[in-house]
């Protein structure tokens, strides 16, 4: 068996173990025994309610968010030929946040939980607003990317666009109801705990569509590794591939941000982890590897965020930053092009 197949085969049981672990932990933990009983269809008594209402949605959300963000991070790194590109750094998550801010802060309901405040526009409305926000920023960064040739200046543009969009969000916050502002701020720190089982009918299919779109363009993404002109000379419809990649990114980033807040570092760190493990630059292996590893990493982050016990959970971005920031620094140090400021 070749190395990518070994890695992918080995990753599946690891995913299963982390999934079970994530089902178990929480402010009201469920024993691993009960989780196993429940998973194998033998019931779990009182714990069943806890599992179905809280732990299962959280674990599924972590899988969808991790897999989705890692794969679109990979798409953006290839599309921009930039090893440090990802939806968070390039401001796409900020665009999605703006969409959420407009749809939630701008409307008038006052429900208890954040996702339940999918006010007048409803769940789909908020997701659509986040997707549109993500798409707008992505378009803007892509347009700017046509003019800059260096890896670093694209990142600077992304950070600037992100800050500008963040300022707009702050403006909305300044005029919003303080109770909602507090919830929005908590949401913006990132969390996979705010979802209900009903949310999965929106979250899971949309992430799945994004992943299928990514898989469908894998051979063309490989050709794009040599640059757009080489790809075009091999018969790749570069513009079409770019559109598919952008729509998949906006879709995934939009829906994940709507439910979990802007999550940092997963999109940038997991593709590099996948490359190291797979040892190849072939997107036909990297995309599934990113999906599985992203899910594992995000589940682990969710478990770590929950561990301190007590009532509260750590913001997810606190945990992802601890894992992600070193990866970014290592990539930066190892890339000769980046070191030379190109």
């Amino acid at each position: 068996m070749n190395r990518p197949a070994v890695v992918l085969t080995a990753a599946v049981p690891v995913l299963l173990v982390t999934f079970i672990l994530a089902l178990s932990v929480g402010s009201e933990p469920v024993s691993l025994d009960s989780v196993w009983h429940w998973l194998t269809g033998r019931g779990a008594g009182d714990d069943a309610v806890l599992l179905v209402d809280f732990h299962l949605p959280r674990a599924l959300t972590a899988i969808a968010a991790g897999a989705g963000l890692a794969v679109v991070g990979l798409l953006m790194q290839t599309l921009f030929a930039n090893p440090l590109a990802d939806p968070y750094i390039l401001g796409v998550s900020s665009g999605a946040s703006l969409g959420v801010a407009v749809s939630v802060l701008g409307t008038g309901s006052a429900a208890v939980s954040f996702t339940a405040t999918f006010g007048a526009l409803g769940r789909w409305g908020t997701v659509a607003a986040a997707g549109i926000g993500a798409l707008l920023v992505l378009g803007l960064v892509l347009l700017a990317g046509r003019w800059v040739r260096t890896v670093v200046s694209l990142l600077v543009i992304g950070v600037m666009v992100g800050s500008a969009v963040g300022a707009l969000v702050s403006l909305l916050l300044a005029f919003a109801d303080p109770a909602r502002v507090q919830k929005f701020v908590l949401w913006s720190l990132g969390s996979v705990d705010g979802t209900y089982l009903g949310d999965m009918v929106v979250l899971l299919p949309m992430v799945a569509v994004g992943l299928i779109a990514a898989v469908s363009i894998a051979p063309s993404l490989n050709a794009l590794l040599l640059g757009e002109r080489y790809a075009a000379s091999m018969g790749v419809h570069v513009r079409r591939i770019r559109v598919v990649a952008i729509i998949a990114t906006a879709l995934v980033c939009g829906v994940v941000t709507a439910f979990c807040g802007p999550i940092a570092f997963l999109g940038i760190a997991v593709p590099h982890l996948a490359r190291v493990l797979i040892g190849r630059a072939d997107h036909r292996y990297l995309i599934p590897a990113c999906a599985v590893l992203g899910a594992i990493v995000c589940l682990l982050c969710a478990v770590v965020a929950t561990l301190p016990g007590a009532d509260g959970v750590l913001p997810l971005n606190v945990v992802t930053a601890v894992i992600g920031a070193p990866v970014v620094v290592i990539v930066l140090l190892r890339s000769r092009a980046l070191a030379a400021g190109q």
């Binding site: 030929a81 090893p83 469908s216 894998a218 051979p219 063309s220 490989n222 050709a223 590794l225 040599l226 640059g227 002109r229 080489y230 075009a232 000379s233 091999m234 018969g235 790749v236 419809h237 490359r275 040892g279 190849r280 630059a281 072939d282 036909r284 092009a337």
Partner: protein
């Protein structure tokens, strides 16, 4: 050397009134030339004379302002990109992040225009990749990382990638730019052998006049925006000097070198 190989005779590349440039501004007078199968045609001209623009236009990477491009009876401009990619392949100067790419991976990318949705290689694809690696004597580079190769080795891999497309026309833009003097001559010798074995026209742009004249066969020379053509020996005696001489340097046709005046 390859006289025993079964030789298919390919078809010639014909440009008719081809005007190239950007935003309706031609960089050359309209070009009407042909490049013959089985032969290496060197495209010569000073830097900035429009060699790359012409080559990229023939490759279908930018639209022509006017004129026609035919390979045999086929109109290259009328083809969609995938069909065109089965007719012609290019070696460009574009740099890319080599990352985890291995020699064999890059050559296999040349099969892209033949692959189905899944993108997996069939036996015929693997055979084409192996033949392409063999043609440039790069079999031992298949498992090596590009990051660990010399410029010359990388260039051979990129030529093999183009050959894996099984093109009926091969175009190379300044392929010797990063090579040392012996490698430049050797590169042109490799291209001559490929042209002969595969029976295809090969068009190579270069500003390295001395190597081109020693190892090329036919030539297109851009002189003050006009294209002149002939065998390289003939061009060396006539047009090269007109195109390249400066007040300080002149081209000596006798031994094909530039000398200080």
């Amino acid at each position: 050397m390859s006289g025993h190989a079964v030789r298919e005779q390919g078809q010639s590349l014909r440009l008719a009134g081809l005007s190239v440039g950007y935003r309706k501004r031609p960089v050359l007078q309209p070009v009407t030339e042909s490049a013959e199968p089985g032969r290496v045609t060197v495209l010569l001209g000073p830097n900035g004379s429009g060699k790359s623009t012409l080559l990229r236009t023939v490759a279908g990477l930018q639209p022509p302002l006017a004129g026609q491009i035919h390979l045999g009876d086929d109109d290259l401009l009328a083809m969609d990109p995938r069909a065109r990619a089965r007719q012609l392949a290019v070696v460009l100067t574009d740099r890319f992040e080599v990352g985890l790419l291995r020699g064999g991976d890059v050559v296999a990318l040349g099969r892209h225009p033949y692959l189905g949705m899944g993108g997996s290689l069939r036996p015929a694809d693997r055979a084409a990749v192996a033949a392409a690696l063999a043609a440039v004597h790069a079999e031992e580079l298949a498992d090596r990382l590009l990051a660990e190769m010399s410029d010359g080795q990388r260039q051979r891999i990129l030529i093999a990638r183009a050959l894996a497309q099984e093109p009926r026309l091969l175009l190379l833009d300044e392929p010797s730019a990063f090579l040392d003097a012996p490698s430049r001559i050797e590169l042109l010798a490799v291209l001559r052998r490929i042209a002969e074995q595969r029976g295809i026209p090969i068009l190579v742009s270069t500003h390295d006049v001395e190597a081109a004249i020693r190892a090329g066969q036919d030539g297109w020379v851009i002189d003050q925006g006009r294209m002149r053509s002939g065998t390289v020996e003939m061009l060396a005696r006539t047009v090269i000097g007109d195109a390249f001489d400066t007040p300080a340097v002149r081209f000596d046709a006798a031994d094909s070198t530039f000398r200080l005046r």
